[in-house]
């Protein structure tokens, strides 16, 4: 399993892994038997990872069933099985919207999840691998967001379509797509302003942006939600609302380098079937990694 990038992902996830791993090792250490205490502690550990009480109850109930049916010998065997169960919640063979070409990707999400940073990192990743990238500075609301993306574009050495703060984001999207149609880059990434999914006006504004992009673009259009791993149960509501408004193709899960485990992504995968395509495991420019469900599940549980 140890491909080079897996090592780096695991390094990024080490802190997450250590914490939950510790927790579960304590469970296993204290009571190697699969007793009621074990199940309760397991439930707590998963709830503590933001998987959400509904999903946890279902997963644990199913696991109890399997443990009995397959006569799993001890706690360690149950945890290994759990990793597979969790991994199976994610859609298999999910297409990576960033590896298609040509493609226009709209990056959306609530405030502060790391959209602009993710656009910058992905641009850098793609440019390094020899792809031609174009950026669109669609966050014309937040002060200095345009400048922030400029700096990333500069670092990655890719062109960026920018307009002044306060410009209609649909107009920036229009100009970006026009530029893309003319210069035919492999990947066009459009940053958008963070917005709460509860703001009907701002969600409509985003729908308009997407309509314009779809109408004007000669390349296929994908929409990616950027989700902060520290987000709790509201993450599911965010995914639901953005999906209902725009139709989501994939998820980028950021900030996994802290102690948060981003378990709500499991609930999102279960309910909406939206795959994770990148995970953020550090502040470095190359710290946005591809996602592997089993690696993630194992890191989450701390099993090997």
């Amino acid at each position: 399993m140890s491909t080079p990038w897996y090592r780096r992902i695991s390094e990024g996830l080490t802190k997450s892994r250590e914490r939950l791993g510790e927790q579960l090792n304590v469970i296993v250490g204290r009571s190697p038997d699969v007793d009621e205490d074990f199940w309760e502690n397991l439930e707590d550990a998963l709830i503590g990872s933001d998987v959400g009480v509904t999903a946890v109850t279902e997963i644990v109930d199913r696991l109890r069933d399997t443990a009995t049916r397959k006569a799993l010998p001890d706690a360690r065997a149950v945890l290994d099985h759990l990793a597979e169960e969790i991994a199976a919640e994610f859609p298999t063979s999910a297409p990576d919207p960033f590896s298609a070409a040509p493609v226009v990707v709209l990056m959306v999400g609530v405030n502060g999840t790391g959209k602009t940073t993710s656009v910058g990192k992905i641009a850098s990743e793609l440019a390094t691998s020899g792809k031609r990238v174009l950026l669109g500075s669609g966050d014309t609301y937040r002060a200095a967001a345009v400048e922030q993306l400029d700096i990333w574009a500069d670092r990655a050495g890719v062109p960026v379509v920018r307009r002044d703060r306060g410009t209609d984001p649909a107009a920036v999207a229009f100009d970006t797509v026009a530029e893309a149609n003319r210069t035919t880059p492999d990947v066009t990434l459009i940053d958008t302003a963070g917005r709460l999914h509860t703001s009907a006006d701002l969600m409509r504004e985003l729908q308009k942006v997407k309509r314009v992009v779809e109408r004007e673009s000669s390349a296929p259009v994908r929409t990616v939600l950027v989700l902060d791993a520290t987000t709790g149960q509201n993450g599911l509501t965010q995914a639901r609302e953005f999906d209902a408004a725009l139709g989501l193709d994939a998820l980028v899960l950021t900030k996994l380098d802290g102690t948060a485990k981003g378990g709500i992504a499991i609930a999102i995968a279960r309910e909406l079937g939206i795959p994770i395509v990148r995970i953020g495991v550090g502040e470095g420019v190359d710290d946005l990694k591809p996602f592997d469900a089993l690696d993630y599940a194992r890191a989450l549980i701390g099993g090997e």
Partner: protein
């Protein structure tokens, strides 16, 4: 949407008719629901355990007040405990008296520190201070530009230093405030992960260098279980004084606020409630308690209703409803109350269960419709308002011309009015069962069939 606690407990207690004391079995069932509700609200699971244990202790054998159902009795205990845990009283910024006073904001990436810094400076200015902002986020590209732009918008000076030494910039910022006769400094710092030793060390050094009067930790209301880890680490390294909870204008329950208060003991001081730079409010523990429990902001609604509607007028209205002498004037008065309370949309959002009501999409409530109805009623004569039966064809035409609408619109409003009146009669008849819906004079406004 998640089920709110009121609904959960109602389901649990629906089979109970008896009153008196709560049995062990009742309490067990209720505690399970409370646990679920708190976990769904992102309260940390350890905090939930302690909390549920405390509530259980109070609930077992508790006497149920004669006017309450067992469910209501439990909700009351939960509400009291939660409010107490969240802080009881409102926390305020405390300055030592040294000029300039210094406030420093810390927190994770993306929690909203830069925006909160600008909002706080704006709030302090409203309180008569002369604030200065200091931009110490030397890491995120253009973060300093962001604060500068916000400062320009507010016309509040921003100190931006040279280089990448955040500690030196903070110190220079305080000196710059002294030089330009500013009496309070708000320091924005870079977002940092609580496990990043180097960055946590930096923020501790900034604090050491400027000795702020208050350090505020900024926490995103959408944060999940991990809030306790971040808050504990920040409390250890910078011993912050209080918390700003941001993004409360969304629909996150904000259980993280409870977790943070519970594990660090630090009060929550301000709430970020919108994108505009004046959208920073004093934090109200009681309202937050109800939000976490998903009971809507019913109390806020009631408070607003009480503030807005003169109590006597409300009593009179209730009397009119009971005797069904409800006129167009009353209808108009209620519409105006609704508008004063922030419009139907914001009222509906505060109502428990409104999120679940089918066909009731708060964003579809057209505020302009309220104005149009008001215009139509105002185009009636006093006599017509008091006695709707006078409204014949030619009067309706005149009213339509006066209000700039069609006769069809006028007919619609008359129909709505009659429906409202009928609805009220039903309420007043149902009043005998002890459900006091008309108490705040609200049902007409709230139930207006728009």
């Amino acid at each position: 949407m998640f089920q709110n606690l009121t609904e959960r407990l109602q389901a649990v207690f629906s089979n109970l008719t008896g009153k008196g004391r709560l049995s062990d079995a009742d309490v067990d069932a209720a505690m399970r629901e409370i646990r679920m509700a708190l976990l769904e609200a992102d309260v940390n699971f350890k905090v939930v355990k302690e909390f549920v244990a405390r509530v259980r202790e109070r609930a077992v054998g508790a006497e149920v007040h004669s006017s309450l159902t067992p469910g209501q009795a439990v909700i009351r205990i939960v509400d009291e405990e939660l409010t107490a845990l969240l802080g009881g009283t409102d926390a305020r910024l405390v300055f030592s008296g040294r000029i300039p006073g210094v406030v420093m904001l810390v927190g994770l990436q993306g929690s909203g520190k830069t925006t909160a810094s600008a909002k706080l400076a704006n709030l302090l200015r409203k309180q008569g201070k002369r604030p200065m902002l200091v931009a110490c986020d030397v890491y995120r590209p253009a973060a300093i530009d962001q604060l500068e732009a916000l400062g320009r918008e507010l016309d509040i000076p921003v100190h931006r230093g040279e280089g990448t030494d955040a500690v030196a910039i903070a110190k220079a910022g305080v000196r710059a405030a002294i030089d330009s006769l500013r009496d309070v400094v708000v320091i924005d710092t870079a977002g940092r992960l609580h496990v990043d030793e180097e960055m946590m060390d930096e923020v501790a050094r900034i604090k050491e260098a400027v000795r702020p009067d208050q350090v505020l930790m900024v926490i995103d209301a959408m944060t999940g279980q991990d809030a306790v880890n971040a808050a504990t680490a920040f409390a250890e390294r910078v011993d912050f004084d209080a918390v700003i909870v941001t993004k409360l204008d969304g629909d996150a329950r904000g259980g993280a606020a409870l977790s943070v208060k519970s594990v660090t003991g630090k009060p929550i001081m301000y709430a970020g409630v919108g994108e505009k730079l004046d959208a920073l409010e004093q934090f109200h523990p009681d309202r937050m308690a109800r939000r976490i429990l998903g009971m809507g902001d019913m109390m806020t609604l009631i408070e607003k209703a009480v503030e807005t509607a003169d109590a006597e007028a409300a009593a009179e209205m209730e009397e009119r409803v009971r005797t069904a002498t409800f006129t167009f004037d009353d209808f108009l008065q209620q519409l105006q109350q609704v508008k004063k309370m922030g419009g139907l949309g914001s009222m509906l959002k505060m109502m428990p269960g409104a999120g679940q009501m089918k066909g009731l999409d708060t964003e579809d409530v057209d505020e302009r419709q309220l104005d149009r109805v008001a215009a139509i009623i105002q185009s009636m004569t006093a006599e017509e308002r008091a006695n709707p039966r006078l409204l014949n064809g030619s009067r309706r035409e005149r009213i339509a011309r006066g209000a700039g609408v069609t006769v069809f619109d006028v007919n619609q409003v008359i129909k709505q009015f009659e429906q409202a009146r009928k609805l009220m009669k039903q309420f007043s008849k149902g009043g005998g069962k002890g459900r006091r819906k008309g108490r705040f004079g609200l049902p007409g406004g709230m139930q207006s069939p728009f």
